[in-house]
């Protein structure tokens, strides 16, 4: 996020406040506790908690940062350091919909650049700017793993595949008019930025069964295989009853099933590069060795 894009003023109700009222704070604390419970160590909850803050405030607000810091025993500087690293964490109020045009190479060449030019001019805003009505925050986004559907536009991180300048401006107009829009591969309609943020914080919205399993390009190879009646080699277990009884008794000397603690793992696992040295497990010797080797490039 560039420093020369200062927040363009806040709408009423969006002022920074010292903190949350008691009811809100209690609700957020309960959500935070549920997030923290997912992890062995509580700091891992920080990213989902920042999504949670965005679900509440529409951006990573100062009071949200303070809430995360207080909950996780961090300083606000430590929380801010993390929040500023990730592009999805917004430092000023986001629009109801983030409209992202992929302008990475493949989409750009397939027409993403033209879509971007058209949309930016149509809305009168540039990258990371929000329309005056607060409906749309426009972004140039990086590759979103839908290259076979290029050019792609994302609305609140739902896929709108195979776009054109005309389809993208119509989409933006619908969003600003409050009309429901339907992603190509996604839920039946696009939720708001805040609702989306809550899902990213790990709280499902019960909409997973909406939409398709796959679009055309996803199935392109499968269709060709079906046409030619090509299949992968048979597994050899096809004759088995699908509801084969579960074996509760692994082979003798096997997994230690039912035994407390970690399963007994094979002797092969002793082939570690070295034995663990405990604690943070970063001994000086391997560190020194690293400089002189290419090991760091492995994997």
């Amino acid at each position: 996020m560039s420093v020369d894009h200062a927040p363009t003023g806040r709408a009423p109700g969006q002022q920074h406040r010292a903190g949350y009222d008691e009811a809100t704070r209690a609700r957020l604390a309960a959500d935070a506790a549920a997030i923290i419970a997912r992890y062995p160590r509580e700091r891992s909850a920080l990213l989902p908690m920042l999504h949670l803050v965005q679900a509440e405030d529409g951006y990573v607000s100062p009071r949200g940062i303070a809430f995360c810091a207080a909950t996780l025993g961090l300083t606000t500087a430590e929380v801010s350091a993390v929040a500023t690293f990730y592009t999805q964490f917004k430092r000023h109020p986001n629009g109801t919909y983030t409209v992202g045009v992929c302008t990475n190479t493949l989409c750009a060449i397939m027409g993403g650049d033209a879509i971007w030019e058209e949309l930016s001019e149509h809305l009168g805003i540039g990258h990371d700017e929000t329309t005056p009505d607060g409906a749309i925050t426009l972004e140039r986004v990086e590759c979103n793993a839908a290259c076979d559907y290029a050019p792609v536009v994302m609305v609140n991180w739902e896929f709108f595949d195979n776009q054109t300048p005309a389809s993208a401006t119509a989409l933006a107009d619908d969003l600003r008019a409050g009309e429901a829009v339907r992603p190509t591969r996604g839920a039946d309609s696009v939720c708001t930025f805040r609702e989306m943020s809550r899902v990213l914080a790990g709280f499902g919205d019960g909409r997973a069964d909406e939409g398709v399993g796959a679009g055309g390009p996803t199935l392109a190879g499968l269709r060709v295989a079906q046409e030619h009646e090509w299949t992968a080699p048979a597994y050899g277990d096809e004759a088995t009853d699908t509801a084969a009884p579960t074996s509760g008794q692994p082979d003798a000397g096997g997994s230690g099933a039912g035994a407390p603690g970690a399963p007994v793992v094979g002797g092969e696992q002793s082939s570690a590069q070295r034995t663990p040295t405990g604690g943070r497990d970063a001994s000086a010797a391997p560190r020194a060795r690293k400089r002189a080797s290419d090991e760091a490039k492995e994997s």
Binding site: A187, G202, A208, T246, G254, E268
Partner: protein
């Protein structure tokens, strides 16, 4: 004609393919049932013998990676699935998870059983809302059916899975940056060694594998290692998703044995778009050196692609035809690397910044005669000197672009790329570029 081998993609066209009952009806969880009758060490051996190599780009043998875990010491061991698919051009894991997330969950249970892990994590990129929903639901459904939780299928084995959404950072696809991010920190790579196998998540022994790698495990258990090695080449065994995109008639996912060629894949995909010819392509995403039409018959396996001067990477085959400016493509990728550089190490942070400055003036037709040498010198100072593979990857398209299309970079000293290669000829729809409209130019 080369045959496709749909394994992961075999049931993607089923009605409600993403649900557990549909997955089970297609043979789902047979691999797990088989695995639970075996000793964990034998599961590990089966995966080792299959020769399954990491499908996330580096191609490191999965079984060997698991085998690097030190002997159990009573403390936790973790499996972390890298679902942060962000490499430009790469688009295989997201459709897999949208269509069939249970493939991953089953692979997670088997892998966890093999390595002695009781809490696994899926780090999914934050920019794919519906996939996050499907993953969350898949975990819930698997737990309700007894495939997750305690005493899985009566085996005594316990496993919890946490789905964790990232927040927009390409670097978190690097396994140690991913671990830092999962620990609630800025996603910056760690010094290796120690490798995650020894000191990974919370400094505990950890396996980090790509979605497709883990999703390939159930099939290996069902069919055995020899089933897997009956596909692919000797050292690049098995099936893989090949993702065709760009100037191709039928872009999409083509699951084939490793070792298939682009010529064969293009034939199945209807060829380069009508009336055009192949100019350059990436074998495995933007971080792998470019190939040209002379590489159409290179077998797409790890060894052959490396011998030909690139990397198999993620099998992200981005196809560009003769209307495309290499300088424009390379400049845009470089913009990406500059944006996504985490800033930890100087060669990458500063290098990608200056690479972009030079490339932008070449794209604008305002380069100097020294710029090509300057670019190569900059690349030489990044490659092998950056902290992680991001910096190395940033140089690939530049050095290979200059290697094959030097004259286009030289033209950047006098003619803008969009004059040499009008962008409206590359796009899938007709339009008049703003620059031409403003100048009143008719092209």
């Amino acid at each position: 004609m080369a045959h496709l081998t749909p394994v992961l993609s075999a049931h993607w066209d089923a009605e409600r393919s993403w649900t557990l009952p549909v997955y089970e009806a297609g043979g789902g969880y047979r691999g797990l049932r088989k695995a639970l009758t075996m000793a964990p060490a034998d599961v590990l051996t089966a995966v080792k013998e299959s020769g399954l190599r990491g499908r996330g780009g580096a191609g490191f043998p999965a079984g060997m990676k698991w085998g690097f875990l030190p002997a159990p010491d009573g403390g936790p061991r973790y499996l972390v699935v890298n679902a942060d698919e962000s490499e430009p051009g790469t688009c295989k894991d997201m459709p897999l998870l949208l269509a069939s997330p249970q493939e991953l969950i089953e692979g997670i249970v088997i892998t966890s059983y093999a390595i002695g892990c009781h809490h696994a994590f899926v780090y999914v990129r934050g920019e794919v809302l519906h996939i996050t929903r499907r993953l969350q639901q898949a975990v819930e459904a698997a737990r309700a059916a007894g495939y997750l939780g305690s005493d899985i299928l009566g085996s005594g084995f316990d496993l919890e899975v946490t789905v964790h959404a990232g927040a927009g950072a390409y670097i978190c696809g690097e396994e140690t940056a991913l671990l830092d991010s999962l620990e609630g920190l800025r996603g910056q790579p760690r010094l290796k060694p120690p490798f995650p196998a020894v000191a990974g998540l919370y400094a505990r022994p950890t396996v980090v594998n790509n979605v497709e790698t883990i999703a390939s495990v159930p099939g290996i258990l069902r069919g055995g290692a020899s089933w897997f090695t009956s596909m692919g080449t000797e050292r690049s065994s098995g099936h893989g998703l090949f993702s065709l995109s760009g100037h191709v008639t039928r872009p999409g996912q083509y699951e084939a044995p490793l070792g298939i060629t682009l010529r064969e894949l293009l034939e199945l995909a209807g060829g380069v778009r009508e009336g055009h010819e192949l100019k350059f392509w990436t074998p495995g995403g933007s971080s792998t050196p470019l190939f040209t039409a002379e590489h159409l018959d290179v077998p797409l396996d790890y060894e052959s692609v490396a011998t030909a001067g690139s990397m198999l990477g993620t099998r992200a085959l981005q196809i560009f035809d003769e209307t495309t400016s290499v300088v424009r493509a390379v400049t845009r990728w470089t913009e990406f690397y500059k944006h996504e550089s985490c800033g930890k190490c100087t060669p990458c942070r500063e290098g990608t910044y200056w690479l972009l400055q030079v490339l932008q003036r070449l794209e604008a037709g305002q380069g100097t005669s020294a710029d090509i040498e300057l670019l190569l010198d900059l690349c030489d100072n990044i490659l092998g000197r950056a902290f992680c593979a991001l910096g190395d990857g940033a140089t690939s398209c530049i050095t290979s672009g200059i290697q094959y299309f030097r004259d286009e970079f030289e033209a950047g000293t006098h003619t803008p790329a969009d004059v040499l290669f009008p962008p409206e000829r590359s796009s899938v729809f007709a339009y008049t570029p703003r620059s031409a409209q403003l100048a009143g130019v008719q092209r």
